[in-house]
Symmetry: C2
Subunit: 159 residues, 2 copies
Amino acid sequence: MSETGLTFSPEIELRLDEAARLCAERGVTLTPLRREVLGLVLSSEQPIGAYALLDRLRRRRRGAAPPTVYRVLDFLRALGFVHKVERLNAFVGCPSASNYVGHDQGHAVQFLICTRCGRVTETEDDAIAAAIADAAERHGFRQMRATVEIEGICRACVG
Amino acid sequence: MSETGLTFSPEIELRLDEAARLCAERGVTLTPLRREVLGLVLSSEQPIGAYALLDRLRRRRRGAAPPTVYRVLDFLRALGFVHKVERLNAFVGCPSASNYVGHDQGHAVQFLICTRCGRVTETEDDAIAAAIADAAERHGFRQMRATVEIEGICRACVG
DNA sequence: CTCGTCAATGTTATAATATAACGCGTCAAG
DNA sequence: CTTGACGCGTTATATTATAACATTGACGAG
């Protein structure tokens, strides 16, 4: 009857389709492997580490190795589909990848990391970005990108 | 005649003395090992990785091992004498440790990371801190600390 | 004194994260 | 048809960090 069926939830498949479209626009390819890795990242409630990703990937692709996932993550980050949370050495899907600009930067994002539930919320706060740009300028510093990771307890956890 | 001589430059020895004083105030001890590690971090022009630190430490202490430096770094970070630069997995001395407040936080600091010369400048920008606090609050997020790391080209390098 | 306790460090092993380097197949341009 | 770029496989290794347990020395209670 049916084929393998959808690998991911319909919502995520939609986002993957959108990502494929954006890739095509930029003259690059969202290969099956890349699509699968992105789907796994997007499916994770929490930031996912490269090796956790690798484990999950291996359920479907025998022989996947660290370079497999790191290469794909590099690709996805360069396109802005995925971000790395430095504090956690883990990766999150970008909720607004259509805003894409460039190499894991472009739209200045910040993360709210809940140390209780482990979830990470991405924001794009212009006031923070402006304050940072301003501070950089005052130091005569030519800013390329900024990492902003706020740790604490999220609304849901704090009750 | 003289003994071993000063391990570090006079300026750094002064800062180490000050650190020892602050430790005493807080009822903890800046042991010789801790003093030496802090001196090494302060002596480094650039952020220094734990294993680079370990190498240098070994010149004077045979048998130093990774836990040796990680434990000391934890101690120094808890006191605010040292910060970790997450983007680099490396450590910098805090220029204003007298402002100490607590566990590698307290006074909200930001880093300006020059990707050309590798130097890192620490700042304490209230506008950034305020913008972050404000954004957190708007998300109903109880902020505990924030990592802000700005990458680009420093004044000296950009000319 | 001497015992217990604690902070500090030593010691061994291993976990977790990330990259280097090379090979191989496909496919399109020339 | 061959050359070069891309995508991925494969093996090995580098880098960063922690777990777990042992030893030492200082110091107060008894």
